[in-house]
């Protein structure tokens, strides 16, 4: 075929032509370019910029920015009286809201996985709250938590239990927000539900033949096979709980007496109320490092308790 080509054509054929692999790479890159550009513009650059600004006294409002070295970090760890308060509050919130959230969502998913009449309706009902905007949900919960007329205290009174000052007592404000966080469990419940439907039926049958009780089937079959889903929800729960903000911002403003001053709220105050973006950036970097470390630890330990087969 080449022998029949004109001279010019032969010269062209002799030049190295771009391989199909090269083209495929470029076309592939062109397709991912929108995401990549958005990632660089809205994630990578802000992350590096935040890291850089954490070493400055940048205020965003235009006053001259100075390089202050580690001063912002020193201030956070040694001089800011509310930093440790915010850290403690956030750890308390994570320590309770994440495990309680996992257990509750998993339990509800187990119930909704049973073949009973109206399952679809129940699933919708349990999922609905997670699509309600936080602001609206927060206002509803403000009424629920009211000391004198709130539904929760009405239930406690009905059960002859002492009433609780949910939002005015520093000891109860955090538990109140933890209870409220369960309101949005619908999304993780749906994930559990999907996971439960992927558990092979023959394993249950085999366990039943071996005489396993319902509890034994749950512990020996369901839970082990659900560990990848639990692991995913644990990771997402941890990351979200570290960034808890809206409920405290709208409902309590960090009170009473700083009981709900969470880390993100503290960061927000410095950034947008005091215009101390440099210091806020340092707080964000600390949070980033902590979340990254914790995620890595959980990831590392997952070999011991997550079953993928």
């Amino acid at each position: 075929m080449i022998g029949r080509m004109p001279v010019a054509g032969r010269a062209a054929a002799a030049r190295p032509r771009p391989s199909r692999g090269w083209l495929r790479r470029w076309v592939g890159l062109a397709f991912v370019a929108p995401w990549l550009l958005a990632f660089v513009a809205f994630d990578a650059i802000p992350i590096f910029s935040g890291f850089y600004h954490s070493f400055t006294d940048w205020s965003i409002t235009g006053s001259p920015t100075r390089f202050v070295g580690l001063a912002n970090y020193r201030e956070a760890f040694t001089r800011d009286p509310l930093f440790w308060k915010a850290v403690t509050n956030t750890l308390y919130y994570i320590g309770f809201s994440v495990p309680i959230g996992i257990v509750t969502a998993f339990s509800v998913a187990l119930l909704l996985n049973r073949r009973i009449r109206g399952t679809t309706l129940y699933r919708t009902i349990y999922y609905l709250p997670s699509v309600v905007p936080t602001v609206a949900a927060t206002i509803v919960w403000t009424f629920i938590f009211e000391t004198r007329r709130g539904i929760l205290n009405w239930v406690l009174e009905f059960l002859h239990l002492p009433i609780v000052r949910w939002l005015s007592d520093p000891a109860w404000a955090k538990p109140a927000l933890i209870i409220m966080s369960l309101w949005g469990m619908g999304s993780s419940m749906v994930i559990y539900l999907a996971g439960l439907q992927g558990v092979p039926q023959e394993l249950y049958e085999a366990a039943e033949i071996d005489g396993a009780s319902g509890w034994q089937r749950l512990v020996g079959v369901t839970v082990p096979l659900m560990t990848p889903t639990i692991f995913f929800n644990l990771m997402m729960g941890l990351i979200n709980a570290f960034q808890v903000f809206n409920s405290a911002f709208i409902m309590t403003g960090g009170g009473p007496f700083n009981a709900t001053l969470f880390y993100m709220l503290h960061l927000y105050n410095h950034a947008f109320r005091y215009f101390r973006m440099g210091y806020a950036a340092a707080l964000a970097v600390v949070l980033f490092v902590v979340v990254l470390t914790l995620t890595a630890i959980v990831n590392r330990t997952s070999d011991r308790w997550v079953y993928y087969s």
């Binding site: 965003i60 409002t61 000391t147 004198r148 000052r165 007496f257 109320r273 005091y274």
Partner: protein, 480 residues
Amino acid sequence: MSSTVAEPGRVSRRRLLKLASMGVMCSLVACAAPSVTPVPTKGPTQPSQAQEAPSATPVSATPAPKEAITIRFWNVWGAAREELMNQIIARFEEQNPGIKVQNLVQPFERREENLLTALASSDPPEVLMATRAELLKFADDGLIVPVTEYVKAYNLDLGRFYDSEIGNMWWKGELYSMPMPTGGGITCLTLINQDMFNAAGKTPVIPKTWSELWEVAKEFTELDPKGIVKIGATVGTGASDFLAWLYCNNGSVYSEDLRQVTFASEEGIQTLDWMVRFTNEINGGVQNVTDFFAGPGEATEAQPWYNDKQLINFPNVSIFFHMKTYKPDMKWDMGPRPFNGANPNAKSQGLAGEAFAWSYVIPKVLKPEVRDAAFKWVRKITYDEDGGCWFMQQQGRPSPLKACNEAQLYYDANVHWDKVLEALKTDVSVQIMPEHARVRDILNQGVQSAMFGEKTPAQALQDAAREAQAVVDEYWSKRS
């Protein structure tokens, strides 16, 4: 057969990439377009006769734009006020055919965040509603333009404003806005519910001193195991309440040169000690007070004041609008805020400009002709009778313009209007600094720690003062 030539009717890969690149380029060019989009107008480009012509030359000396300028007006005048503002805009646009105003009401809960990021951007709204503390910060950092020259150019008479009100808008010898509504009228009022006095068979009393307030509040407050059933009065539990009472005890928040915090003075400690005792002994503690007023804010009819469950109230002037809405038949009376009768130097005083004191700022990055248009709008909503004055009158709340408050319609709508004006006269313009928000939050920590019994009032204020002083020193060290 592979070919680089596109089949007829099909687009080649190269051509596709070329088109995509052109699309991206066009998008980028569109993004980089000027911030103010000119809007073609149907009317004339010169100001109409209805608009009062400025008596001096325009400040920017730029020719009048041929196309309309759009003023994006960020504000928090939501709910019923939005429609009132739209009416002012309609009048303004009629008077200024070359200018269009977009009324952009912002959600209050994210106001600070939005304001700051917008102002720091290269394309901020042309006029933004900001508190006095924010105005000082932005002015100090050179983000907004002073309007002193505009005021001179248009021969505006600043004497039309109350001194305490226009005084709040200055920073380092330059005027940065004009006020609307009053920055005062926030803490100077004491309202009593006469219906509650009458129901109890008592003669209505407007307490003038702290001890009178104590006696009346104690007599009327009812507690049960769940907390407060009816409240005589609350003296508040946070920094803003503390400052209001501090000024009625001859105290202050800063020294005159703004270099020292002074709230931990003898008067300050006395004030906080009285507040803590009042809250504990009469209202049964800070938690009772928080629970009693829990809910979605003072502007709702569920609040105790509108339900004969609160005898004495220390509201701001917006209460008249809400009372007209929620309980128009309520019998009430009013006087100035009680002062510490045990301190011979103390008197009733209201705070003007310590909190809120709304202003309307113009970003520095605007083009001169847009700045001119922005100032015209600022003038309309602050200085003009058919603008800011009318807006306040419709809400029954006082204007920072003295003459505006003399309108008969105020007296018709509010039987105690003369007392409102008397109370407003007790307002003092509180000197604050650009770091005031931070100082205020530190003070709030101190007040709360005393209220929750973690520290004594003296210890709480001294600790807060030490911390706040460090903030003040840091600010001045950067400016030296």
